[in-house]
Symmetry: C2
Subunit: 328 residues, 2 copies
């Protein structure tokens, strides 16, 4: 199977390294970063691309654009991991449309296109008998989309709730364990690289809300936009609130929740018992799905990180390889 | 898609009810229990079979044997959920071979055939281009096999550890929480239906060990038998041992563990911190997989129960339906 890889930052490089190290029958015939691209029908020299990226800051030929790779390279699946605006979905959305338009499979870690345009994109994919996979958009390395679409297929989901944002969870863990203020914990998270310079998107609950929209629209047959989610962030929480919870053997976590029958999507800080499976530490994510047959199933794992995202992308690629490309 | 259903106890009836209630495009063209069978190419009347089972104690025609259904009914997949000896694998093993011999897919909840004869059975299935699925053999409703084969595909498993037996976990939870002796907790588990009249198989760690053998042979490319597992049960644990653990904010759980690189499979009571994700309560199961890319992923859910087992069986059937029967 041949892939084109758009985006050659830490995630893209992680994918390239994993494919070089593992014998998965997947070769890369095109790559691009924001400044350059490379098309090689016989397969990209991954070591050379990594070395050039390290030395020059870009991986390919500056005259080749990402869209050139999407439109001209020979590949079975496009892997779209470019830095993308989560609200407009660009530039990933345009790249994904280009690949689907050519009848190619698509795997992406970009939340924007999936949250904004899943219905359109999946209709296009289905009409061309190709697959659109997005495991990496929700909860990093936890194979929650696979589990809901495959292992738990046949179950009706009565409720889905989870810790979907590692930055918030880190801040709340530190406020709870060490009695830090929100500002102190946020500063620490920034220093450790767990929070961005502008943390609004995480701490206001928007990132968690977008993940809920993706799960609602792609798995739970709902039709939701970001505006439909009731959102409260963690930025106004005081150490007093956490101390009060602690006194009752409870703690506070930012919980994203979908209740399909009540048409509810919400993100808010919640007081929960310390023994609850969703009370995970640090930057971990956790999701509990309450179903009609399987009961409650909880998944815990790393919600972010370049290698973890690469794991989810490769899981999707192998799904496509086994189901479409090589047959079974 | 048409299935034949061998075994019409609580699991078999749970599957039949779920297929009747859900519109999954799966019909039942043959059923059997140990005393009778029924073949109906146009589809079994599930309500009538359930009613007859309730009234007469058997579901079909006493002159029709399970093997008649396996050999003569028209079906795409055989669902094998008969009461089966876990050591000999019979009668399930014979039924499964009959279905594979006819080039039919097989889904089973029976551990015996998978632990004993997976290599043979999968070779036969592959030579006939059909699927052999066994999600229900390990951890009930938790889709751990799906997750390892699909979502986490591409990862190398460095270590797998888990609470794989709900009976033992219930007993340990009660000894720990209430200070009960092993005998008291076992008696309570029996009264609640969580332990069998002869609990040897569970409390000696054999059930957990067989699940390790299944995971080792089918997912981790090892070649193990029950004798290869180092096993210590929970039947000699004293309340003192648990009290001592409690005093250090720890507790004791029966942990099954596979370390592929060290060629180790073992089941033993282990002292672990109370905040550890594997410390689950009551009859729950939990598994943590430590991988090279995804890091540690933990799965928690109900490890037994007829509806939970039906969930796993139906997940496997839908996998086969989507991949082989209807195409994608």
């Amino acid at each position: 199977m041949r892939i084109a890889l758009l985006g050659f930052g830490s995630v893209g490089q992680g994918i390239a390294r994993a494919l070089r190290e593992k014998d998965l029958g997947i070769s890369i015939t095109g790559i691009a970063d924001s400044r350059s691209g490379l098309i090689a029908p016989g397969g990209i020299d991954i070591d050379a691309a990594l070395a050039q990226k390290r030395e020059l800051g870009y991986c390919g030929d500056p005259s080749v654009r990402p869209m050139d790779v999407a439109l001209l390279a020979e590949y079975d699946a496009l892997v779209e991991v470019t830095p993308t605006d989560v609200i407009t979905g660009e530039p990933a959305l345009t790249h994904i449309r280009a690949a689907l338009g050519r009848g190619r499979h698509v795997v992406t870690s970009n939340k924007g296109p999936i949250a904004l345009a899943y219905d359109d994109l999946i209709a296009e994919a289905e009409s061309r008998h190709v697959s659109l996979r997005y495991e990496a958009t929700v909860c990093g390395a936890i194979p929650i989309i696979h589990a809901l679409q495959e292992g738990l297929a046949g179950n009706r989901v009565k409720r889905l709730s989870g810790v979907l944002n590692g930055t918030c969870n880190y801040i709340l863990t530190r406020m709870s364990d060490e009695g830090l203020t929100y500002e102190q914990a946020l500063m620490e998270a920034r220093e450790l690289g767990y929070a961005e310079a502008d943390p609004t998107y995480d701490v206001k609950g928007i990132d968690a809300a977008i993940k809920l929209v993706i799960l609602a629209n792609t798995i739970l047959h709902m039709d939701k936009a970001l505006d439909d989610v009731q959102i409260t962030g963690i930025d106004l929480l005081t150490p007093d609130a956490l101390r009060l919870a602690e006194e009752q053997e409870m703690t506070i976590r930012l919980i994203g929740e979908i209740i399909p029958d009540e048409d509810i999507l919400r993100v808010s800080p919640r007081i929960i018992g310390k023994a609850h499976p969703l009370v995970v530490e640090g930057t971990l994510n956790a999701v509990t799905v309450d179903t009609d047959m399987a009961g409650e199933i909880t998944f815990i794992g790393k919600g972010a990180g370049s290698v973890e995202t690469a794991s989810a992308i490769i899981g999707d690629l192998l799904f496509i390889r086994d189901r479409y490309v090589t047959g079974t």
